[in-house]
């Protein structure tokens, strides 16, 4: 356990080296909420957002997903670079077992996402409380954080799996962009599922329906806004995403470092 924590600690220290990136991301996230969502609130039909008070309130829980996904995905870029520059050889020379290293990397990516997202989650809870007077119970709050942690770990695993599937940085970037945009724009982070089903082809609507980012955003909305109603599927979806991609990433990472 101690060695896994060392690996996590190392990745955390690396994360906070990207000050410029963090500053840029925070400003982008806040600009999305405080400018884009505010303007769209005046343009979106009230029939669509009536259960959520307004578009601004609807979008606020989606913001935390956007933030944690971007932060958790960063680990893949680092691992791709380490594999290309053979820094992984140095990592293997350390008195750490391969599986410990693999678990540490996946968990670090997940925790980085969670830490980065925390101030934005507090902002979201404040906003939803101001507009709806809903205060989540400790159990509900714990469920939101746990769901977000699973999404973060799954994202970290997905990003690591992509990163080590190719040594070409360009290919990694391309794959990352495609995955990133499909997962985000085919999800309920920006708009409700009914609207997606009426605007996009059925295949993409299905992606949106089972997308773990949709499950995470809707689970947060269920506890912070009271709509859509909470269902166990939401939690199962994010747990499955987290566990499956964490496992895939660990196995792939161990295999790559064995070469």
């Amino acid at each position: 356990m101690k060695t896994i924590l060392y690996v996590v600690e190392r990745d955390f220290k690396y994360f906070f080296r990207y000050k410029w990136w963090i500053a840029g991301m925070i400003s982008m996230n806040l600009a999305d909420l405080l400018i884009m969502a505010v303007v769209y609130t005046g343009m979106v039909s009230q029939e669509i957002t009536q259960q959520y008070v307004s578009y601004f309130v609807f979008f606020a829980p989606g913001l935390t997903i956007t933030a944690l996904f971007a932060a958790a995905f960063m680990i893949g870029r680092e691992i791709n670079m380490e594999v290309r520059r053979e820094i992984s050889h140095y990592m293997l020379s350390l008195p750490i077992k391969r599986w410990e290293l693999a678990i540490g990397r996946v968990l670090a990516g997940g925790f980085r996402g969670l830490v980065y997202m925390t101030p934005l989650l507090i902002t979201t809870i404040t906003i939803t409380h101001v507009f709806t007077n809903v205060v989540p119970s400790p159990l509900q709050l714990l469920s939101i954080v746990a769901a977000l942690l699973f999404i973060s770990i799954g994202t970290s695993g997905l990003s690591i799996s992509l990163a080590i599937s190719t040594t070409s940085f360009e290919k990694y970037i391309t794959a990352r962009s495609v995955v990133y945009y499909v997962l985000f724009f085919c999800s309920t982070v920006f708009y409700p599922i009914d609207l997606i089903q009426s605007a996009l082809p059925q295949t993409l609507a299905l992606v949106a329906q089972y997308n773990p980012l949709s499950a995470g955003a809707d689970l947060s909305r269920a506890f912070l806004l009271g709509y859509p109603p909470f269902s166990a599927f939401m939690f199962l979806d994010v747990v499955a995403f987290g566990l499956v991609f964490a496992l895939v990433a660990m196995l792939a990472y161990m295999k790559v470092t064995q070469k």
Partner: protein, 261 residues
């Protein structure tokens, strides 16, 4: 006396360097596709009929035209990063040793920075024009020329920032924050009439607003909400003149005496 041939050689070098940023080009293209094929389609269905009416009948067309300007901005701004990188890696010393005057070098960078983003955005621009359908070719020509000036102006703006800020972290943060704010506080994504007054007053003077509204006017989007074309052209010419001039003067000044080091 400035040699246009040498200016072109410098600009051509920047064009070639740009093609090396495969990852950036791929990412931006993927972003554009996702916005056009997913986000734009769904958001178009979210809006009230009044909004659709006020943006010229179809928000999707309005949005697609705005995306082109956002793309043009984010790729033109990249020349500033190049100048920073070169200062970091000692390439500036090499550039100063080639038989090109400082003025030619600086002018070439500014032209190259704008031109390369224009070339990159062109296929997407044609695609958007195909979606919208150009109904007034002469209007479009005016808008097209103004967009060239806009791209050069953004390149000059980026060069001005790059040569005014010493810390590379500071430059990165500033550009990241500016990128987040300048696009959202403009009419690239939504019309000014739906912005709260505190945002609208900034958006009214944003060069991206001028460029986006002018492009929409050129493409024949009929909306009473657009900035009047004469005002937009004036705004873009002013933006281009100020920042190209500032970029050239400051860059040339900084090259003198090695103050970039």
């Amino acid at each position: 006396m400035i040699s246009l041939r040498k200016v072109w050689i410098v600009a051509e070098r920047d064009l070639r360097i740009f093609l090396q940023y495969k990852f950036l080009l791929i990412m931006r293209a993927a972003w554009f596709l996702a916005q056009i094929a997913l986000f734009g389609l769904v958001v178009n269905k979210m809006l009230t009929p009044e909004v659709q009416q006020t943006v010229g009948g179809n928000y999707y067309n309005f949005y697609a035209a705005g995306l082109i300007i956002a793309m043009l901005y984010s790729t033109s701004v990249f020349i500033g990063y190049d100048i920073y990188e070169e200062a970091d890696h000692g390439v500036i010393e090499y550039l100063l040793s080639v038989p090109v005057t400082r003025k030619e070098l600086v002018l070439g960078r500014s032209i190259g920075g704008g031109l390369r983003s224009f070339i990159y955005v062109s296929p997407m621009l044609l695609f958007v024009l195909y979606i919208i359908g150009v109904t007034h070719p002469l209007q479009f020509l005016v808008a097209f020329i103004s967009l060239f000036l806009f791209a050069f102006g953004v390149a000059g703006f980026s060069i001005t920032l790059a040569v005014s800020i010493k810390s590379s972290d500071g430059f990165d943060i500033l550009l990241g924050v500016l990128d987040a704010l300048i696009v959202r506080l403009s009419t690239t994504l939504y019309p000014i009439a739906y912005m709260p007054s505190y945002y609208a007053s900034i958006a009214r003077f944003n060069p991206l607003t001028f460029a986006a509204d002018l492009f929409r006017w050129g493409a024949g989007i009929e909306s009473a909400l657009l900035t009047p074309p004469a005002v937009a052209v004036f705004g873009i010419v002013l933006f281009f003149s100020v920042f190209t001039f500032l970029g050239i003067i400051l860059h040339e000044k900084r090259l003198e005496g090695g103050s970039w080091q």
